[in-house]
Amino acid sequence: VKNQLKELRSSRGWSQGALADQLEVSRQTVNALETGRFDPSLPLAFRISRLFELPIEQIFFDEI
């Protein structure tokens, strides 16, 4: 699953650490999400969606 997390974070001027604190996860987790090494659980995906005020499908999308 690809995502726009890095672009969304950068557009708001947040660091990985800042985003991690807002999502209550570690900075490594944010890094792993941004680099595509880790796909979030649904609850985390919903938290990200609420934080950026965007539907999940606009943040995460299929790699095909």
Binding site: W14, S15, Q16, G17, A18, A20, D21, Q22, E24, V25, S26, R27, Q28, T29, N31, A32, L33, R37, F38, P40, S41, L44, R47, R50, L51
Partner: protein
């Protein structure tokens, strides 16, 4: 590290946030501190128990019993600290840690079976080496795999 005030979007995050992409976030730091606060006393107590025992010697059954209890309590404290730390991890960290633990368990089992086979074949193996080798291999495998995944 420099800090910026981040907007509180979800309502529960009014804190100064790390502005760099390296290092740790505020939450990371708090989790690490909580873990060290619980784990370091366990290690310190264990070291004290071992040093005191070695100094005094374990020449009687009473001293042996005291040694076992004195070292077991800090080990139990360490186990509790690790268990609480695992609960504090987020889903990615937990996945990486559990995967590393699974591989470490496999490595420890292989070493254990290897030593058992050597002993069965009649080879003299020091009992301390036989007891500690699986532990050392397991712990070092767990540590290396966890650090490798979480540091990238």
């Amino acid at each position: 590290l420099t800090y910026v005030e981040a907007p509180c979007i979800l309502g529960f995050m009014t804190k100064k946030l790390d502005s760099s992409d390296v290092g740790v976030s505020v939450g990371d730091r708090n989790r690490k501190r909580a873990y060290l606060r619980e784990f370091i006393p366990a290690v310190a107590l264990y070291v004290i128990a071992v040093v005191v025992t070695v100094t005094l010697g374990v020449d009687s059954n009473v001293k042996k019993a005291v040694f076992v209890v004195a070292t077991f309590v800090p080990i139990l404290m360490g186990v509790v600290a690790i268990a609480r730390h695992l609960k504090r991890l987020d889903e990615f960290e937990r996945t990486v840690t559990y995967r590393a633990m699974a591989v470490a368990f496999g490595a420890a089992m292989i070493v254990s079976v290897f030593i058992a086979l050597l002993a069965s074949s009649g080879l003299q193996i020091d009992s301390k080496v036989a007891a500690w080798a699986p532990f050392m291999v397991g712990m070092s495998t767990w540590a290396v795999l966890s650090v490798r995944h979480l540091s990238s």
